[in-house]
Symmetry: C2
Subunit: 438 residues, 2 copies
Amino acid sequence: MRFSGCFIPTSKETPAEAQIVSHRLMLRAGMITQTASGIYSWLPLGVRALGKVADIVRQEQNEIGANEVLMSIVQPSELWKESGREQSYGEELLRFKDRRQRTLLYSPTNEEQITDIFRKYIRSYRDLPKNFYQIQWKFRDEIRPRFGVMRGREFLMKDGYSFDLNVEQAKKTYKNIFTAYLKTFKRMGLTPIPVQADSGSIGGDMSHEFHILASTGESLLYYDKKISEFDFSSPDVFKKFSKVYAASEDKHDPDNCPVHKSDLEQSRGIEVGHIFYFGTKYTKSMNATVSDANGNQIYPEMGSYGIGVSRLLGAIIEANHDDKGIIWPKEITPYQIGLINLSVDNEVCTALSDNVYQGLVKQNIEVLYDDRNERAGEKMADMDLIGVPYQIIIGQNSIANKTIEIKNRRTGEVSKVEQHDIINVDFGKINEAELYKK
Amino acid sequence: MRFSGCFIPTSKETPAEAQIVSHRLMLRAGMITQTASGIYSWLPLGVRALGKVADIVRQEQNEIGANEVLMSIVQPSELWKESGREQSYGEELLRFKDRRQRTLLYSPTNEEQITDIFRKYIRSYRDLPKNFYQIQWKFRDEIRPRFGVMRGREFLMKDGYSFDLNVEQAKKTYKNIFTAYLKTFKRMGLTPIPVQADSGSIGGDMSHEFHILASTGESLLYYDKKISEFDFSSPDVFKKFSKVYAASEDKHDPDNCPVHKSDLEQSRGIEVGHIFYFGTKYTKSMNATVSDANGNQIYPEMGSYGIGVSRLLGAIIEANHDDKGIIWPKEITPYQIGLINLSVDNEVCTALSDNVYQGLVKQNIEVLYDDRNERAGEKMADMDLIGVPYQIIIGQNSIANKTIEIKNRRTGEVSKVEQHDIINVDFGKINEAELYKK
């Protein structure tokens, strides 16, 4: 994509309203813009990165056989009366009346709605287990929205719901999802730390939060240093994790900690996922039954599983930035390569840049090509701010020295690719695989 | 995907509430389920087909250089006060108050919001033209929601907005989008007919509706038969269309029709897209200006462009079905091939079916594999209902005759692929390209 044709409104100014670095950088890089308090619109760069996160989440959910659905954003409040949450959920629930005076709500979570779908269609034990998920917009009317997409009111979430025949199978499902979550976050270049959690307004008796490590994180975590050495793709990863200590500040008691001081890590984290096993809370209150093998009606065991998809963008930036801007992990970056033409007025420079651009596009590499007629310093600062992991920089030096400079955004290291002919670049040397091998 | 692991709640019963065939078939095939009047949740088969439609729409928008954004679903009503639509839009606008008593609304369309984003960031003529789009949920509080996803209250829409420096360029943009729309619908296996339209509540002075032909369509269209012979990818397709007659019933005057009776086609159609050029209506009322080359502040010329993404699913089914069920165009089908094992209890049948399934999956073909322990008749009826374009049917005959049957869902034609060895199927003969060549 040519920068000149994109809408990437970067800014040098630090927005006054943004208290944390990810919020500042998302605004400055032109990824998001505020619509109202805690409500954001996503601009093209943000849409691309959000799509990458959603794709990874989707692939890992499909991998464990979860069924993708898309529940309506608006649902009738009657369902929440059945579960009892219409009262208990409080003012975070955004309720309103339609023109026929029926009370609707903007879904903050969908346990009731999925249970309603379940009881409409599923009758027999032979149809279980069933595992559903969606990637859909949610609204929680936070009293003090803050930190940009990290604690917004409207946000994109992966929410999943499982139905099992009995407790044993439900716990197996829970463990599978636990493992899939670790894999999901790991694939995004993050270090996830699962900690035991209270189940809050969802209710229930088994729950884990997934935090990712970031020095600017909201919560302080204490954990056995063994955790970071685990192989996340191993099938017994849940078992290993269950035996290893990890707790958030409010639960950590230094005097009764089972881990020796020398093995205890302390680090700040950001919650990006939360899973719950809560048994028959909703199937009972909403009377969702299936017949078991003996013809008896039983209440399936449920769990629910959330990943903050839009929140992850903030969390990833908190964990990956420097004073110049964002440093995208390669799995999430909106573009794989940034190409900067430093001398747009120089015909040879522009011909060379165009040629490199076309060559990369032909290899299906996602390139952000800065072809704008702006000062070199501004273009380099913008590309650093946007945070594409590799930059190809072409200027008058490239022509003089018959080399193209490739800069690693994270390390700042610059390598040079030689070219024998000013126009015919050896793309084998600057293709993605080659770059990421380094 | 194995049918046994999917959630595809098919039904033989004709739902009483569904008045039109697409609504009946979407419910019966387990694609959607009603949440409330005019509000639907999408089940896995529906999610897949909806994704295919959205992907084609997205590709064709990117192709013309439009910038993808994702505006918030909820927006403040203040923006609509500025444009004057807060009053004029009427009761279809779903308004509500948040916990701080600020009035918000569930966006039914986003002219105000995109103009607000535009005026926040774009200052100079050098940044124009700019063309934005999103694929996002909308809500219009219809007084009589009906026809399933064809006239729902909550729906998925591609809405696009363009900003140009002057009328001439705005018209050029309009023509480009007109052409992209034809291409978009054509790629979905549909025959689009553009007709001149009133611009309604959006306001403005140039507007076209895009209808697709379906015998069950809501509106009656009259058009020159030349239309269906046009090459949709030709760059001067707008010019050609502008010169050719096409009108909806309410505008068609038989006594003053410029087309000779023998050249006039009459057919029913369903509106799936609508484009508007409306000049400075929103840029003026919301004071969105840019400076021109002489430093003067001018109001950019705008257009807006909609495709009913969820509605298209209904429209495609209206245009592609028979009395057995849906017949998906190959571009939209949730699965490319349906594989039916008629004798799950027969070990050889199941080994052969599993083998065919694995072989197709390895070729990255999307297969719906009916491995359920149900009666053969029911499985064949379900696959016909679901409407996958090609079915591979494996039963005891396949073993006896060393052949695999391939059924074309649209024509009902059955061809046989021979296999020399009962297990080693020649996948070259049943791969997608081979099938679709026929």
